[in-house]
């Protein structure tokens, strides 16, 4: 004790910086130089953890620790023509792995695994592959690898030429319009989970009009259905409620229409209170509301102030609140992320693995989770062939703040003979039956004229014509 009673002790005795593991050298193989790879290799967070030496053609055994990017068949991504072989060809998905080989060893250890979609522009596909590869490397360096995925890898590419398929897709986008609608099925859950399918679906609004309904969710405690109402022209959806009376839907009652696009009004009944999280894809706009009996939405909290989230799915598990979502900054259809909180008002914390899963065949949420005999099932969107092509149902095996694993149970595909043969997008259960939404491509002349005028207007504005 000093004279005057002042203590010599430090305010924080442990003032020295925590010991950090020195960076280790790793040979990075299986991927070639590109602008994206070079930029990612210069990331300070990565270089503080590892010293990557890029040797694209290196194969095991290697004298140093080897991280190699491989397809599911063990091919490296530097093989001539692999991009052409996979781009825009069935099954429109490619499984990539980051495999570790110890020095001198040829025994592979899968550090990370994910499945990407192969549709879209060819350059964007290549960029997506590079980004995913470098995300695997960064996460492995920071000790956040996901390990092997629980799903089987994507099949080998087959079918027509990629350029032909891309051309077909381009003209379909130009000429055709998506028409969605909602329907219900009384098939028991057990039968659906055992692979019996959804059976007969009672569809509503099968004829095209100016607005369609999609993303059905039950409004707990009522017989109403929350859904997205979307105009064909401006692409800004709003949240409405409808009621089924005598197998027809009533006129929609508008719940949320603020000029911004909203969809996917996921609901959760919690201690007698209905909470609702509509999708808002603008940055930081995801908001949890309290939905009162009059249909008024009272804001509760914003769980992700800086992120752009798609299909936020609210559920409760192990006495914590969880929000499953797709982070649009990482990819539009291929990742699953989780936020969790002790109370619905927060604070919301990102899962230690962000994202927990990368798979275009089911990572993106497709409806509320449902519990059957203590087993938790998660519907996911299969967006490989097209947006909302099918619904894959997974059983969650492990969910904690640091771990996640699930296994595929069944894939529900649209009925090719039904009125909506091109997509099945949402699967929710209201306690008595399933609600789904389906997609059909239609040739809508009004919409075609609208697209044509938009294209002409863009061309004229590029030429400087007012």
């Amino acid at each position: 004790m000093q004279p005057g009673g002042l203590s010599l002790s430090w305010p924080n005795p442990n003032f020295l910086p925590p010991l950090r593991r020195p960076p280790f050298v790793v040979v990075l193989a299986g991927i070639e130089n590109s602008e994206i790879v070079d930029a990612a290799l210069a990331d300070p967070a990565l270089t503080e953890a590892v010293l990557p030496k890029l040797e694209p053609s290196c194969t095991p055994p290697c004298e140093a620790l080897l991280w190699r990017l491989e397809t599911a068949s063990g091919d490296s991504l530097v093989r001539t023509g692999w991009l052409r072989r996979h781009w825009h060809r069935r099954p429109y998905a490619i499984t990539l792995r980051l495999v570790q080989y110890q020095p001198g060893s040829v025994t592979p250890e899968i550090l990370d695994e994910g499945t990407l979609g192969t549709r879209g522009r060819r350059a964007a596909f290549k960029t997506g592959i590079d980004r995913l590869a470098m995300r695997f490397v960064r996460d492995a360096a920071l000790g956040r690898s996901r390990g092997p995925a629980g799903s089987p890898p994507a099949a080998a590419p087959h079918g027509s030429f990629g350029w032909l398929d891309a051309l077909r897709e381009t003209w379909r986008e130009r000429l055709m319009t998506e028409w969605w609608s909602i329907g219900s099925s009384a098939t028991p859950i057990a039968r659906v989970l055992s692979g019996g399918g959804l059976g007969q679906i009672a569809w509503h609004r099968t004829k095209t009009a100016h607005r369609y309904l999609a993303d059905p969710f039950p409004w707990p405690g009522t017989n109403r259905i929350l859904c997205e109402e979307m105009p064909l022209t401006n692409g800004v959806g709003r949240i409405v409620a409808v009621t089924e009376i005598d197998k027809t839907l009533t006129s929609p009652i508008i719940l949320l229409d603020d000029g911004c696009h909203h969809s996917y009004p996921c609901s959760l009944l919690d201690n007698g209170v209905v909470c609702c999280v509509p999708e808002s894809t603008e940055r930081g706009a995801t908001r949890i509301y309290w939905l009162d009996n009059d249909g008024k939405l009272q804001p509760l909290c914003d769980p992700a102030p800086n992120a752009r989230l798609a299909d936020p799915t609210l559920f409760k598990c192990h006495d914590r609140y969880w929000l499953g979502c797709t982070d649009l900054d990482l990819g539009d259809h291929d990742n699953l992320c989780f936020l969790h909180a002790p109370a619905i008002t927060g604070p919301w914390t990102p899962h230690a693995l962000w994202p927990v899963k990368i798979d275009v065949r089911g990572a993106r949420s497709a409806g509320m989770l449902f519990d059957v005999d203590g087993r938790l099932f998660r519907p996911g969107q299969d967006c490989a062939a097209t947006y909302g092509a099918a619904v894959a149902v997974y059983e969650i095996i492990e969910l904690s703040e640091t771990e996640f694993s699930e296994v595929p149970v069944v894939v529900l595909r649209p009925d090719k003979a039904g009125p909506f043969p091109h997509g099945l997008h949402t699967l929710v259960h209201d306690g008595s039956r399933f609600w789904v939404d389906g997609k059909r491509f239609v040739l809508d002349l009004g919409q075609l004229r609208h697209k044509l005028l938009g294209r002409v207007s863009r061309v004229l504005s590029k030429m400087g014509v007012e």
């Binding site: 590109s34 602008e35 994206i36 070079d38 930029a39 990612a40 210069a42 990331d43 300070p44 967070a45 990565l46 350059a123 964007a124 960029t127 980004r131 470098m134 960064r138 979307m230 692409g235 800004v236 959806g237 911004c260 696009h261 969809s263 894809t281 603008e282 940055r283 800086n306 992120a307 752009r308 798609a310 649009l328 900054d329 990482l330 990819g331 539009d332 947006y387």
Partner: protein, 244 residues
């Protein structure tokens, strides 16, 4: 800090003389090519080498392109300069669009329509490479948007911009900042974090007082004007007459 010196005037003509290239080859068979650079508009090549001549260091360069008023063509000049630089540099050249824009709204919006910006990547702790995209029609050139909203430079702030540029310098030999006009004060304030600012003015449109005000504003805020580009110059004589 500044790695450029001495202002110079570069003149960009209104139209590109691309159509006469074959004939020029015939008239001058002993033509010295500069690799891929030779396919660019000569004015952009001239601008590139004018700036290179003023380099006082081999360190990575941050160049700002700014105009006194909007609609002068600063983005076109910045883009043309970046393309020439990309063909001359070994590592990728980075073009950063610092102009603001309102986010688009559409169903199932994708990252392609609302790309991740550098501000967002910084804010979210994501690698900056996630916000960088290869240019569609140029090799060795990558592009990024600084931020969304009407005034992304204000949202980012000076110190964070400095840190951001320091991080980007490690992988890019040339960083081109395409900033809004000096009518936005924060745009002129960016000049102090750059190695030099190129003032783009339009013939017959930019007034002398506007140009002088812009130049003095840049210097008052700690920047350095390394050159003035006179854009949209219309020749009095037809081009075909001038060449013979």
């Amino acid at each position: 800090m500044n790695r450029l010196s001495n202002p110079e005037l570069t003149i960009l003509r209104k139209s590109a003389p691309v159509a006469r290239e074959a004939e020029d080859h015939a008239l001058a068979p002993v033509r010295i090519g500069i690799g891929a650079i030779s396919r660019h508009h000569p004015s952009f090549v001239q601008l590139y080498y004018a700036i290179e001549a003023r380099r006082t260091s081999a360190m990575p360069l941050v160049v700002q392109f700014i105009s006194p008023t909007p609609g002068i063509g600063a983005s076109t000049v910045a883009s043309g300069y970046a393309r020439v630089a990309a063909d001359d540099c070994a590592q990728p050249v980075l073009y950063i669009d610092c102009n603001g824009s309102a986010p688009k709204k559409r169903r199932g919006s994708s990252p392609e329509t609302q790309p991740l910006t550098l501000c967002d990547a910084l804010r979210r702790g994501l690698p900056l490479s996630d916000a960088i995209n290869p240019a569609r029609d140029a090799k060795n050139l990558v592009c990024a948007r600084l931020g969304t909203g009407e005034r992304p430079l204000l949202a980012l702030g000076g110190e964070r911009l400095q840190s951001l540029l320091d991080m980007l310098r490690t992988n890019h030999p040339v960083i081109v900042l395409d900033t809004p006009s000096t009518e936005a004060p924060e745009s002129a304030a960016v000049s102090r974090y750059c190695d030099g600012s190129v003032l783009v003015v339009a013939a017959g449109r930019s007034r002398q007082a506007e140009i002088e005000n812009a130049k003095s504003l840049l210097e008052r805020l700690g920047g350095q004007t390394v050159g003035v580009v006179l854009n949209r110059v219309r020749g009095v004589m037809p081009r075909w007459l001038g060449h013979h």
